[in-house]
Amino acid sequence: MTDETKPTLVLDHVTKRYGDFTAVDDLSLQVRPGRVFGLIGPNGAGKTTTIRMIVNITVPDSGRIELFGQAMETRLQDRIGYLPEERGLYRKMKVGEQLKFFAELKDVSGKEADERINRWLNKMELSDWKTKRTKDLSKGMQQKVQFITAVIHNPDLLILDEPFSGLDPVNVELMKETILENKREGKTIILSTHQMEIAEKLCDDVCMINHAKKVLDGRLREIRRSFSRNAVALQIAGGDGLLHDKSLVVNVRQNGDDTEVLLAPGVDAQILLKRLVEAGAVVNKFELAEPSLHDIFIEKVREAS
């Protein structure tokens, strides 16, 4: 990742207010091409408003949004694929017709549209449902149809708001695979989700917002490293007494089979290992633990409140 690469999307000091309520406050971020960008934050943090400004549904009160190096305008909408959090399909329309309509709205029509529709239905294992009414589909299937509407025009920027909700594990894998496939094709993806484990696996970069403000921003790996809190995941037999030595360990937490310990400031992990071995404990696992995105998320939200 070099700084010379032109970002796909730039938000520059963007603010949006609804009456007295500030939904997005002075938000700046950059999304680099060909990467999966995670937009995370608790409910009501301003994620959806941010996304709506990116897709040009609403306009910021102040600040600038630049997409593909141009100021935001209606024409650029055709290069964005958007899967909104609250799904909506015409219930009475047949799946095929529905997709054709949304393709036309994105300026893809005729044979080209038909071919793409068939290809995507096939890929999403929905070919048999093409002539069925949308309301007769299960929720998961509707979700996949909605996803097709977001990618049918082969957009350069794909914005997915909670793409995994309502999907069974098999379809979650299918969806993940499709997202990574898009990434391999050089598409830029903005992923907004609450499911931190998935975000952790998929995202290259992360921006976290809380109370309308950005609280965290950067490459996921670097963020995790910077949050490293001198913690160790253990699986041991014996030597338990050591873990209660306050000069050594500040906090002990059981996480599944692992015992997670937070070391006291200035205490090196090697010292703990040495002391454990000396105490005659059998060490089955000793791992320097990087905090999960989940932990960071929780910590940041708590910090704010």
């Binding site: 549904i57 909408q77 964005i80 958007y82 609250e86 329309m93 709205l105």
Partner: protein, 447 residues
């Protein structure tokens, strides 16, 4: 533009292909026939045979003439009777062949007083009425000629047709008797009282033109047609606007296109559905009419087809479209503010009544079609469909006024759609909340 047509196409095809549309289109003309013609026949039907009437004539002078008047079955309009010599045989034939629905038939009998007191006679007659041997009776007092008062007793005094007919015939009988008493020859008097026939000829910019006299009826049915169309299809427009709101498709749509072409596309798409149905119904109606006229002509009945110039037909279509679109757009605007169709329907009602208000201006405008009032009423877009059509059919205003009115009307439609698009766009972002007027105003400024 492509997206705009995609929206129109979707709105149109999705609706036209529904079973509901196909069924209503086919059943529509049948329903017209059912609700238009059948009640007319039912209302005019006189079930239960002739009305049996007894008469107590204390004056002893009026009964014969009264009876004669009651039994007369030909048209009661005296003028027509008198015009007999002028009317051609065809018309007379037509008159006799007129269906006798609604005209009350009478069976009349005189109750001989034979010196008995009135009270006793009445008691007797009341009893007969109760036994259903009589439907009613009339008491003609001795001083009827000077006093002009008589009494009707009947089982069903709510039957205004019978009461009206009795009063009418009795008046005629009394009048003739009075004249006879004054030794005035009836023939002379009838001749003297004959009405003047006033043939009206309209002088327009194109010279003299015979007026068919159907102008008022024409405008009335025009107004009713707009009103009915708005009532029928306004809800459809409302539902169309609400559809995306309820299913939250709007968010996807707005991420693909601007809201103005979206709203315009919806309005036009749904309106084309309405116009398709109306056209089919209109053609069916014309077919029926042509068939009816053909039947009548085959029987030798002369048919006076109302004279309508092609230009009027063009104006008719233009102002119909204008009227329809103005009010359909109001439904769209309301749809953008509310969350359910029921709410929307209630809110739309008072505004659609504005259309009816156009009728208030009917008579002032007919009396002076070029007054300032007439001018302004026909420029105000919500009244113009009716008021301008009145002016066109009475005294056609200069062309520039007609086109100005149309321009204002269609500009209003565009303005309303623009407003709708704005309100919708902002309203969409506020979830499931009914908007107050100040809120809507804020949205308009905000969007």
């Amino acid at each position: 533009m492509k997206k705009f047509f995609a929206v129109i196409k979707r709105e149109y095809l999705q609706r036209v292909r529904t079973k509901f549309f196909v069924v209503t289109t086919l059943v529509g003309p049948l329903m017209f026939a059912l609700f238009g013609i059948v009640p007319l026949y039912i209302a005019r039907m006189n079930i239960g045979g002739p009305t049996r009437l007894a008469v107590i004539d204390q004056s002893g002078k009026v009964y014969d003439r009264f009876r004669e008047a009651l039994l007369q079955t030909v048209d009661e309009d005296e003028d027509d009777e008198l015009d007999g010599e002028r009317a051609d045989p065809n018309q007379q034939e037509q008159m006799q062949r007129k269906p006798s629905f609604g005209r009350t038939h009478f069976e009349v009998e005189l109750v001989p007083s034979s010196g008995r007191p009135l009270e006793e006679l009445k008691r007797e007659l009341n009893e007969r009425v109760r036994r259903n041997e009589l439907d009613g009776y009339v008491v003609i007092p001795a001083d009827i000629l000077s006093d002009g008062k008589a009494e009707f007793f009947g089982r069903n005094t709510g039957d205004i047709f019978t009461r009206g007919a009795v009063a009418d015939r009795l008046t005629r009988a009394v009048r003739e008797e009075r004249l006879a008493e004054n030794k005035i020859d009836q023939q002379v008097l009838r001749e003297a009282g004959r009405r003047v026939s006033l043939a009206s000829t309209k002088i327009s910019s194109r010279g003299e033109e015979r007026v068919s006299g159907t102008g008022l009826m024409f405008v009335l049915s025009f107004g009713v047609l707009i009103y009915v169309s708005v009532m029928l299809y306004g809800q459809m427009v409302l539902a169309a606007v609400l559809e995306e709101k309820e299913t939250r498709i709007a968010e996807v749509l707005f991420s693909s296109m601007r809201s103005f072409p979206l709203m315009m596309g919806k309005l036009i798409g749904v309106s084309m559905v309405a116009l398709t149905q109306l056209t089919i119904w209109g053609l069916a109606f014309l077919l029926f009419a042509a068939f009816g006229v053909g039947m009548a002509a085959a029987q030798g009945v002369p048919v006076n087809l109302p004279h309508v110039s092609p230009l009027i037909v063009v104006y008719f279509l233009l102002f119909f479209l204008m009227g329809y679109f103005i009010y359909a757009t109001i439904y769209a605007l309301i749809g953008s503010m509310v969350t359910t169709t029921q709410e929307g329907g209630q809110l739309a009602m008072p505004i659609v009544l504005m259309l009816v208000a156009g009728f208030y201006f009917l008579f002032p405008i007919i009396r002076s079609p070029n007054s300032p009032l007439a001018f302004w009423a026909s420029m105000f877009p919500f009244l113009a469909p009716i008021t301008m059509m009145v002016r066109i059919t009475t005294e056609t205003p200069p062309a520039w006024q007609i086109f100005l009115s149309l321009a204002i009307g269609f500009a209003t439609v565009v303005g309303l759609v623009w407003l709708t698009a704005r309100v919708y766009r902002v309203g969409m972002l506020m979830y499931g909340k009914k908007a107050s007027i100040p809120e809507v105003w804020r949205w308009v400024k905000q969007a």
